[in-house]
Symmetry: C2
Subunit: 187 residues, 2 copies
């Protein structure tokens, strides 16, 4: 029997992404975002939704670029901090003892210590209400050699991403392998 | 040292959602989608990106509604099948021995056997390229009593969602608890 829980954001769990931007003075900033997802394969695009109150919102508008750095589970505290503090008040990279690297392709920094990075050029800005959706075209993906497996493919066990569960505000690791997509359903 | 992998969709992992729609004859259909995410808190909205070639694409355009049913890991084969077969050719509910339930709020069906359901009214249609992004306002979330924990909050361990890793086409379960958001980063 299903019970109505109302018009709210309740899902299973959603990945945590770290969005990197420069402010108007060139100071690198990072924030944690969970209202995120892939939205197109060609051109390859990701969507990041932010409240106007965030420092990153203005940075993306001005620089028309951002990066997505994927934090591995060992950096869950730093990632959570990136979602609590504001770049208006502090230098989050310094506070978290992490290293900003300037992208060679877009006007935004990424986190050196995180193993997977997407460099994105702003394509669309869509006003939805409390959140604004920034759609960025992925110009390149960069990965640490250490997370690459056969055929130079990143291995999820090595990227070790984590997820946010909205209903209980919990962070969770990735778990065990279930099977291969476009394959196990053929039976 | 980071290596360039090119302009491609490579992320950690993304949740698998089952999108429910009716076709023009009223036949219920479901498809698996991974280019998905929350995109706004107020109004509460989710974004689902689909190729024009999918049967669901036309169904959403005509009915201006869809549901998102969250498949638990025990149904990974059925979910994968929903991403392989087309509703043009088969009745996927029948083939998978699952039960369509008509939403009372929107003109779309959901999967009775899946524990969490979002009922969505189409708000925006955004052409991005190969994919079209459908943004739906969540009018209600319904959950099985069996997945609710304290204060009637859905527990992620009971929803038991799973994820798709793009680079290797693998499905993965949710793993262990890492900590509480907006809390563990305060140190």
């Amino acid at each position: 029997m299903k019970r109505s829980l109302g018009a709210r954001i309740i899902i299973g769990a959603t990945p945590v992404w770290i969005v990197g931007t420069y402010d108007s003075t060139g100071k690198p900033n990072v924030m944690a975002a969970a209202w995120v997802g892939v939205c197109c394969s060609e051109p390859p695009c990701v969507a990041v939704s932010l409240r106007k109150a965030t420092y990153t919102y203005g940075n993306i508008q001005h620089r028309e670029a951002f990066t997505v750095s994927l934090p591995p589970a060992q950096f869950v505290k730093e990632a959570d901090y990136f979602g609590i503090a504001s770049g208006r008040d502090v230098d989050k990279f310094s506070a978290a003892h992490l290293t900003p690297v300037k992208s060679e392709l877009v006007d935004a920094p990424y986190v050196q210590e995180f193993p997977l990075v997407l460099e994105c050029k702003l394509l669309h800005t869509i006003e939805l209400g409390l959140h604004t959706q920034f759609i960025g075209e992925i110009l390149d993906v960069k990965a640490e050699e250490s997370v690459l497996g056969e055929k130079q493919k990143p291995q999820v066990e090595k990227i070790d991403p984590f997820f946010f569960h909205t209903a209980t505000l919990g962070y969770y690791k990735i778990g065990g392998y279930l099977g291969k997509a476009f394959s196990i359903g053929k039976d």
